[in-house]
């Protein structure tokens, strides 16, 4: 019996995990089906563009700036071991565009946006505002979820593109001021080595991450427990699940894009 109980605990949590995955998958399907059917709420969509996209710019920009700078330092010191300091511009650009831009941008937005969405929708749930929406003939899925999911999916690639530029600029700043690179050469080097697909793959990742962030925020908000405690838990779950799903999706997408 004592030996069996860890097994049964494992079994229970596995079942719970599978059930959660099933619920998220169902929710995912419902979101897709509502995206393609009217009515749509363009005004809500614009508000969310502002909330999710515009207001995330500082967070994403600062993250990219410092990451680009740190990356330049790392690659310089690492590269010096085999006399390859000159690769700094190209590796910084590739690292930022392919990997760090979308992933760190996505994680920062997960912290900011998934939390905000889950808290807002969770509060609406516990104060009966979601019920009120329904009685006013408005589908919460269409009115709350669809605008957020669409806005996040559209905004994140743009944020990633901005982050890429700022990240490369961060590398440039460190490279030219501390590592003795010539400014023109640095930029020339970056432009020569960076390929279209390096950037495009990062933007596609960004779109997927944006979708994940909004989906998790809405899902956990809609399923929030009762009271302030329920909302707190929903917020935490939204950020944690969005972050983990972003990292997992990043691994899968990287495999798909670059394994061949």
């Amino acid at each position: 019996m004592i030996l069996l109980s860890p097994l049964s605990a494992l079994g229970r949590s596995t079942l719970a995990l599978l059930a959660a995955i099933g619920r998220v998958a169902l929710y995912f399907g419902r979101v897709l089906s509502h995206i393609v059917r009217p009515p749509w709420y363009p005004r809500e969509f614009v508000v969310q563009l502002l909330q999710i996209g515009w207001l995330s710019l500082p967070v994403v920009g600062l993250t990219a700036l410092f990451t680009g700078g740190a990356l330049a330092l790392q690659i310089y010191s690492g590269g010096s071991r085999f006399n390859a300091e000159t690769v700094v511009p190209s590796i910084v650009a590739i690292g930022i565009a392919r990997e760090l831009g979308p992933v760190l941008g996505g994680l920062m937005v997960a912290g900011r946006v998934a939390a905000a969405i889950a808290a807002e929708i969770g509060t609406m749930k516990v104060t009966e505002q979601i019920d009120a929406l329904v009685t006013l003939s408005t589908n919460p899925m269409k009115y709350l979820t669809v605008p957020r999911v669409l806005a996040a999916t559209l905004c994140l690639p743009i944020l990633v593109a901005v982050g890429d530029s700022i990240g490369i600029f961060g590398g440039y700043l460190v490279g030219t001021t501390r590592l003795g690179f010539n400014g023109t050469n640095y930029l020339q080097n970056t432009a020569d080595f960076l390929e279209f697909w390096d950037v495009a793959s990062g933007l596609v990742k960004g779109a997927v991450f944006g979708f994940i962030v909004a989906l998790m925020g809405c899902f956990h908000g809609m399923n929030s427990g009762r009271g302030a405690q329920g909302v707190g838990k929903a917020t935490t779950n939204a950020v944690v699940s969005a972050s983990i799903l972003i990292l997992a999706a990043n691994y899968i997408l990287t495999g798909v894009f670059f394994s061949a």
Partner: protein, 248 residues
């Protein structure tokens, strides 16, 4: 006509509704009374489909509401929630005019706002309240905005969950008169939950008392005082002694 039969609803082990039977005739006002936590709000939410009942049927004009076309069904209803449930991201008038600003009842914003201000006036709120946000209002004012929102699109059936709770006696009287007026003049069907016995007398055509998960007593308001049900008697007189246990 709303016909509820053998309605059951449990939350886990908490068996809230245990076979509720109730009929509400079109164009009449039914008041539901009953102790706190007996499931009055849950009953209204079951009718609206906000809470899925475990078993039992609810018919609206002979049609099962679980199978009805949702949009057409909900378009007939207005609901005032116990906690007002105002959207805190919008101003008061946008809350009241919510239905009039989107969907099938959509009309120009100016017109919608006029209607909203008029409905606010009917619940005793001045036009300057219209531009405020719900968080800037007192509890009783929020309740009245919720009421204005519930009646804004002139629904055929209106549910009021404790419309006068938190209001001063004069305002409570205004709201009671308004509910009565909506039923007698506009021919709407109303179901009202209240704990306030003077409200019951002012609003009700019929009274239903929910206790122990079932409708304990149901009848015309005139017969309420003469009824010999001990549970109802204790509730009307507000006595601590009686079959309903008050935990102390």
């Amino acid at each position: 006509m709303i016909e509820i039969s053998a309605l059951n609803k449990a939350f886990g082990l908490n068996r809230v509704l245990q076979g509720v039977d109730l009929t509400v005739v079109t164009g009449t006002s039914t008041v539901i009374i009953g102790g706190s936590g007996t499931g009055k709000s849950v009953l209204l939410k079951c009718i609206l489909g906000l809470v899925a009942p475990d078993s039992g049927t609810i018919l609206l004009d002979g049609q099962d509401v679980a199978k009805a076309e949702r949009d057409a069904f909900l378009a007939k209803f207005g609901m005032l929630f116990q906690g007002a449930a105002l959207f805190d991201s919008m101003t008061v008038w946008q809350n009241v005019a919510f239905r009039l600003l989107r969907g099938s009842l959509k009309r120009p914003a100016g017109e919608a706002k006029e209607i909203a201000v008029e409905k606010l006036r009917r619940v005793g709120l001045t036009p300057d309240v219209a531009e405020k946000f719900p968080a800037e209002l007192s509890g009783g004012m929020q309740k009245r905005v919720g009421l204005a929102r519930a009646i804004a699109a002139d629904p055929q059936i209106i549910f009021f969950d404790e419309p006068t709770t938190g209001l001063d006696p004069i305002m409570a009287g205004v709201i009671n008169d308004l509910i009565r007026e909506i039923v007698t003049e506009m021919g709407a069907t109303a179901m009202t939950i209240t704990h306030d016995m003077s409200s019951v007398r002012a609003i009700a055509d019929r009274v239903a008392m929910l206790h122990g998960g079932v409708i304990r007593w149901e009848g015309p308001v005139e017969q309420m005082d003469g009824a010999d049900d001990p549970y109802l008697r204790q509730f009307i007189t507000g006595s601590a002694e009686g079959p309903i246990e008050a935990v102390r």
